[in-house]
């Protein structure tokens, strides 16, 4: 069992066999850790898409580049690795909502204050939602997919989805819009170890220094600009650049 898998199991109510005790895990007499015992996140893994089809990846590339366009302020969402980030998140535990309460019934008319009440996992939201978006585009824009529209048309469509003015066939436009926008922002600002925020583009945009973990100097010098470059969990370098 790999370390990270072990940690995922430990934190859940999953079934594990321990050799040290007949039941659960017993702590007696001393603290149960060893020096240098750490649990890093899952690595990005092999190059290529782990969840997306090439067509889905092209659609998401186009969306993340409208949400965060490349401009004079810096790289866009695609260049910053947001699509890779989303692909890897969907292929991991986030993609199936395995940590969430997903037992039914799922009534069709929840109160807005009751929050998430859809049985659709993020994987299903992307698979069904991107297909619905492209079906809509092909019907409305001369058989072109979302990625083949010009930037103005893409912006208009996304704006309509955000406002609830666009109805996709058999999928909630608002759900797709909200999920992709939220995941794009996660990818742009998460540690580069997850495949997004490449070259710390997100952190550089706003001046977030990352994981420096010691700002006593800042506290002692109020209202001064912070000049050190950002660092991530792997230091000053970004994660490997798979898969594109």
């Amino acid at each position: 069992m790999t370390i990270s898998t072990r940690r995922q199991l430990l934190a859940s109510a999953a079934i594990i066999v321990f050799s040290r005790a007949a039941f659960g895990h017993t702590i007696l007499g001393k603290l149960p850790w060893r020096p240098n015992e750490v649990y890093p996140p899952e690595p990005l893994g092999s190059p290529g898409w782990h969840f997306f089809t090439p067509g889905e990846a092209a659609t998401v590339d186009a969306m993340v580049d409208r949400f965060i366009p490349a401009d004079e302020l810096g790289p866009g969402g695609k260049q910053a690795g947001c699509t890779v980030f989303i692909d890897r998140q969907l292929s991991g535990p986030y993609g199936t909502y395995e940590w969430l309460y997903m037992k039914g019934p799922f009534p069709a008319d929840p109160l807005p204050s009751q929050g998430l009440q859809s049985p659709l996992t993020p994987r299903q939201q992307y698979r069904l939602g991107l297909a619905a978006l492209n079906a809509y585009c092909r019907g409305k824009y001369d058989n072109r997919a979302f990625a083949q529209l010009d930037a103005d048309a893409q912006d208009k469509l996304l704006d309509g989805m955000e406002k609830g003015e666009v109805q996709l066939p058999e999928f909630s436009a608002r759900m797709l819009f909200g999920t992709v926008l939220a995941n794009t922002m996660e990818g742009f600002f998460a540690d580069p170890i997850y495949g997004g925020n490449r070259d710390m583009a997100g952190w550089k945009l706003i001046g977030f220094p990352g994981t420096r973990y010691d700002y006593r100097d800042v506290m002692q010098n109020p209202n001064k600009p912070y000049s050190l470059p950002p660092v991530g969990l792997k230091g000053r370098v970004s994660a490997d650049r798979s898969p594109t």
């Binding site: 430990l10 934190a11 859940s12 109510a13 999953a14 066999v17 039941f23 659960g24 895990h25 017993t26 702590i27 007696l28 007499g29 001393k30 603290l31 149960p32 850790w33 750490v38 649990y39 890093p40 996140p41 965060i68 401009d71 302020l73 986030y94 940590w99 969430l100 309460y101 997903m102 037992k103 019934p105 204050s113 009751q114 929050g115 998430l116 009440q117 955000e162 926008l181 922002m185 996660e186 600002f189 998460a190 540690d191 170890i193 997850y194 952190w203 945009l205 001046g207 977030f208 994981t211 973990y213 010691d214 700002y215 006593r216 800042v218 506290m219 109020p222 209202n223 912070y226 969990l233």
Partner: protein, 589 residues
């Protein structure tokens, strides 16, 4: 088939702040103590390592260290007529899982409630008349006074090394502290944390309005400290990864940094993790607990007999265990009778955001979970409520707890949520926005309560807890009045533009608000209106004590942990000095 284990003196359910303190103190007294915790063991060196701890996505967004709703959640509705649905993804509050409990991933804001908070019903009746209290309220005095709790607040603060500036030392008001606080027997164990530029502006502006700013008491400590248990802490580095994270610096007080290293060395102590208690077992007459039944990670059930059962889980889960075990009369909303599940309360959040001019460098990433400058002029009954027409109040604070950018991306009002205009907006305002927030009290009401859900169940087939909660008109009025006070201060600080944040109604599970869930197994003086007596002992089953914020009869305008800690030491003192010498009810009725 359930297998029976050898008996212990004490079984502790949940190994967070309250469970670890009680385990240590009772094991030290020579008792055999077993603590049963459903989540994993967690330790600074392995689990909050500096090479993995500052990871916003993993811990702050995906919530790796919290309870997962797949394990257990609660169902929710705003009013008793509605159908409750499960909280499928935690949002408004984040219940803990694992050793350390919420004391591992808290921000560390460590308050004492005010003397009037403990006698709120009688105090308001005396000052404003009994008719002043809001419709449908079930506000109650606590059955314990500030003066009685003071030595135990002191014990918790010295266990945790809290950093702060005393405002009232043995009745003498101290410069720079909170002049409204109850008298302290001695100063805080460590001096206050450093404050940033926004807090300096807030201190000047609020003092200019005749208010009384002081540094917020912090469990992210300012200097190295060794607590009475011999456990050592290191100074905070203002890394900005406190709430939702474990501290890699041994700077944030937690069971890990303050208790566990001493606790595991106690020969009479044993912890069993990844084991979930299913119920407290009772004798056939229901009047005495014989221990607990728990299930391990292989699905095997075990009976752990014990003379004394201490429920130390997070507030909801104490209440649910009482209901599932048949301890105490469940609250019946329709009849207005019963006590278990009664008086659930929460916290209000409101305030104002200020947007400042070019050349401002607030550096929000340089922060700790509990630095900040606060004023208490509008809390509890520190001001005349006669003219404002509501009960309760709020602590008002200017603070950054972090600048982590997945969640913290301020833009001017009216800025789009995406596109180049958003990019410009967030680049401009990340370093120039700041907030002043009011954390307010929530009173107890007949219509806000907990019971068992009729539909939704956990993996073991047990009903989930059902929450019926909404902000009542009194809380809306109070919180929105406080937002206006915050806005006045932000304007006086020199903001070019402000945005008032009113209380969100109806209460929604979606945006994060606070994990200050209180009540449901409240303490008091009358078994008809409280599940526990003033020593946190069950009225019905005298060898069961229930710790935590579930004992609050209503919530005050502060974070709960300081009072949770004080009540733990208060109850411990009663267990040691009275109960163990003569087991049985500590209060006769």
């Amino acid at each position: 088939m359930t297998q029976r284990l050898p008996a212990k003196d004490v079984v502790v359910v949940g190994l967070g702040w309250t469970g670890s303190i009680l385990s240590y103190e009772l094991a030290r007294s020579g008792l055999e103590v077993v603590a049963i915790e459903r989540g994993p063991w967690r330790d600074t060196a392995a689990d909050f390592n500096i090479t993995t701890a500052p990871d916003e996505l993993r811990y702050g967004i995906r919530l790796e260290m919290f309870l997962r709703p797949a394990q257990e959640t609660v169902t929710m509705r705003n009013t008793p007529e509605q159908r409750a649905l499960p909280i499928r993804r935690f949002g408004s509050f984040l219940p803990p899982n694992g050793v350390g409990g919420a004391g591992m991933h808290w921000n560390g804001q460590t308050w004492r409630f005010l003397p009037t908070d403990f006698v709120i019903r009688s105090h308001y009746a005396q000052r404003y008349g009994a008719g002043f209290l809001p419709e449908g309220n079930q506000i109650q005095d606590w059955g314990v006074t500030y003066d009685e709790l003071e030595p135990f607040y002191d014990a918790f603060e010295y266990c945790a090394g809290i950093s702060g500036e005393a405002g009232n030392l043995q009745g003498k008001i101290q410069p720079g502290g909170n002049p409204f606080e109850g008298p302290r027997s001695r100063p805080y164990p460590t001096p206050p944390q450093l404050q940033g530029y926004a807090q300096q502006l807030f201190a000047q502006a609020s003092a200019g309005k005749g208010l009384h700013p002081f540094p917020r008491p912090s469990a992210n400590i300012s200097t190295a400290y060794t607590n009475p248990y011999g456990v050592r802490m290191a100074p905070c580095t203002y890394c900005g990864f406190c709430e939702r994270f474990g501290c890699a610096n041994y700077s944030k007080a937690s069971p890990q940094t303050c208790v566990l290293p001493a606790l595991v060395r106690q020969p009479g102590f044993e912890a069993r993790t990844e084991c979930e208690v299913l119920k407290v077992n009772l004798t056939p007459d229901g009047k005495h607990a014989t221990g607990v039944t728990y299930i391990d990670t292989q699905g095997q059930q075990w009976e752990q007999p014990a003379d004394l059962v201490l429920l130390c889980a997070f507030s909801f889960f104490n209440v649910r265990l009482l209901l599932l075990s048949g301890i105490g009369k469940p609250y019946d909303h329709a009849a207005g009778e019963g006590v278990v599940g009664r008086n659930y309360a929460y916290q209000t959040g409101s305030g104002s955001t200020g947007y400042f001019g070019e050349g401002t460098h607030f550096n929000p990433f340089a922060a700790s979970g509990s630095l900040g400058v606060a004023v208490d002029d509008y809390n509890s009954d520190n001001f005349d409520h006669g003219s404002v027409g509501f009960v309760g109040g709020a602590s008002i604070t200017c603070a950054y707890t972090n600048g982590r950018p997945i969640a913290y991306r301020p833009t001017l009002p009216g800025t789009p949520n995406w596109g180049s205009a958003w990019k410009r907006g967030v680049k401009t305002m990340y370093n120039r926005a700041m907030g002043v927030g009011a954390q307010g009290s929530v009173m107890s009401y007949r219509d806000n309560y907990l019971d068992l859900d009729p539909t939704y169940k956990d993996d073991y087939g047990r009903p989930l807890l059902r929450m019926t909660f909404n902000y009542q008109p009194n809380e809306q009025k109070m919180a929105n009045w406080m937002a206006d006070r915050c806005d006045e201060i932000v304007k006086a600080m020199g903001a070019q533009q402000t945005r008032i944040g009113h209380l969100g109604v109806p209460w929604s599970v979606v945006p994060y608000q606070t994990t200050h869930n209180t009540g449901g197994a409240v303490m008091g003086t009358d078994p008809k209106t409280s599940a526990l007596n003033r020593y946190l002992q069950s009225w019905d089953v005298s060898n069961v004590f229930v710790m935590g914020a579930s004992a609050f009869p209503q919530n005050a305008g502060y974070n709960p942990t300081g009072t949770v800690g004080a009540l733990t030491y208060w109850s411990l003192n009663a267990i040691r000095e009275q109960y163990l010498k003569a087991p049985g009810p500590l209060v006769q009725i």
